[in-house]
Symmetry: C2
Amino acid sequence: MKQIIVKKGHILQRKGDLSSKVYHVRRGLLRSYQIDEKGKEHIFMFGPEGWIVADSNSGDEPCELYIDALEDTTLIVTDKNITTEVVDPSPLIKRMGVLQKRILMLMSASAYHRYEHFIHTYPDILQRVPQKMIASYLGITPEALSKVKGEHARDRS
Amino acid sequence: MKQIIVKKGHILQRKGDLSSKVYHVRRGLLRSYQIDEKGKEHIFMFGPEGWIVADSNSGDEPCELYIDALEDTTLIVTDKNITTEVVDPSPLIKRMGVLQKRILMLMSASAYHRYEHFIHTYPDILQRVPQKMIASYLGITPEALSKVKGEHARDRS
DNA sequence: CTTCTTTCTTAATCTAGATTAATGCGCAAG
DNA sequence: CTTGCGCATTAATCTAGATTAAGAAAGAAG
């Protein structure tokens, strides 16, 4: 368990790496993402203060996700394999709740509703990252997000 | 920790319930699903032998998901709050890996590719549930799945 | 301040998948 | 056997969001 500081833009993990690291964010902002066959980025998760960021690959398989820093970030690095420490299940439960909600949103909600849910759930992140990353997280294009934002602003007035 | 048997069609949990039960499937098949505002079902997860099915709501909040039995099912019921037993984190890690994959598929893959991934990953479930449930799991309509199946069969010949 | 690069917006077109509707097929119940 | 209902298929339309393209705005770099 060591604490490190990474600069904005630093890549902590790439697809294919054999890392089994878990990153606990103390200050700053990480993101984990995939790059598909067409070279398009899809953000899996933002990791602001207090969050845990990791690839859920089982043990010794290569990573699926890239992880990098969107801001200068202070974090604690641990390893999944080292289970000497007692694992507190509550952050895992919370994380699963977030993933469950995300899946249900992707399956049943429109871009408009996903955006609305996002700004209510993560109002701070909205201010800290470019629109195109919000779009990537929501599973839509930046162009579509731009349109949705317009509709949303109109509805609020 | 008690073992129970439920008949096909039995509903174990409804949205809004204050249950914090965890179902470990020994034999049979469960599913968890959501019903959206328009009354449409969206299957969150199938739970065949060896799987754990539960709503990832944190502690005392009401459930989001319905859970029912698609076959006569034998299962072990435990409670999330009772942490007297030591929790084995490995099923949780595996579960998170599945959820991660699911999110990335929903964000980046076409109906065709999601179907292909499904039949390779869960070939047995394909035989055990009606097409409309596969469609619901994939996040498409039964009509769209019918078309995709046709294309897939054509490609294989 | 000026230039370069990245981000955001707007608009025109295109397409995967939704919706609607009609038909046929099991299969369980009487 | 036959009636009825849930399921699957096919086809015609429709639409949310993708793609493409082109400018405007806003940072970063010198």
